[in-house]
Amino acid sequence: MSDTLTIAGKIYSSRLLVGSGKYASFAQNAEAADASGAEIVTVAIRRVNLGQDASAPNLLDFIRPDRYTLLPNTAGCYTADDAIRTCRLARELLDGHRLVKLEVLGDPKTLYPDITATLEAAKVLVQEGFEVMVYCTDDPIQCKRLEEIGCVAVMPLAAPIGSGLGIQNRYNILTIVENAKVPIIVDAGVGTASDAAIAMELGCDGVLMNTAIAEAKNPVLMASAMRHAIIAGREAFLAGRMPMRRYASASSPIAGVIG
């Protein structure tokens, strides 16, 4: 059965998107990305450290642009202007690459999205031809607005970035999915494999995660667990779960019991 994810016209067979932050080494990052089966990997755009050793290893030697679709993010941006500038720099850095992850944050303690600024930045970026995957709150109305602006994927949080708290408001996620005409990808808050499976069972098109893999005791094994959880959750969603009942319903026939 072919069950693919299409984002901005490009077809992906994996519904797991992974980050490249917080790993012990580039090599561990590469091994985890490989084990996750992800085809899209986020990267951050930052000032180079002046005076560094020119021969020091580079992330892109390990997470290679010819293997992965890179998703440059605007992490750390607290204004629409900074996020827009970062996207423009990313486009230049990656040779005209248009796919970006937009996030405009509200405060450093919660890393919660500033939705007003996010909407403002999304409008400008879409007008400039960027393919915007947007990190946002799990608010069905704002998610719809971001879709209407022209974002190619809407990515509500499940819980705060890096919290590992799992999906805090599954009914909102369900509503967002039901309303959507673009892929809905849960971004942030997933802590372990069951969280990823729940997101997929709710009908999400994918899950983006970083810390859940990078901060696991064994990141490569957790990456593999997440790969399976995403597939399991997706298949369960497509299969359609049984109804919940308050009382038991015997699985074995009642007729023919001895005695």
Partner: protein
């Protein structure tokens, strides 16, 4: 002359170009993007873009992030 590179004053003998700055910072050959006085300059124009005293320059690269 002195340039403001990534928020830090960097001396550079005049005249110079963005390409010359990249070389002087030992960043030659790396995958970078440059903003020169708030304008992004494509890599193909670095060697013909002059820099002047007190210019503000941002030089960025991709690093790990989520």
């Amino acid at each position: 002359m002195s340039l403001m590179v990534n928020g830090r004053a960097e001396p550079l003998p005049a005249p110079a170009t963005l390409e010359g700055l990249v070389d002087a910072l030992h960043l030659t050959g790396q995958r970078l993007a440059i903003e020169h006085n708030s304008q992004i300059v494509p890599r193909s124009l670095w060697d013909t873009t002059p820099v002047a005293d007190e210019d503000r320059i941002e030089i960025v690269k991709a690093i790990g992030g989520g």
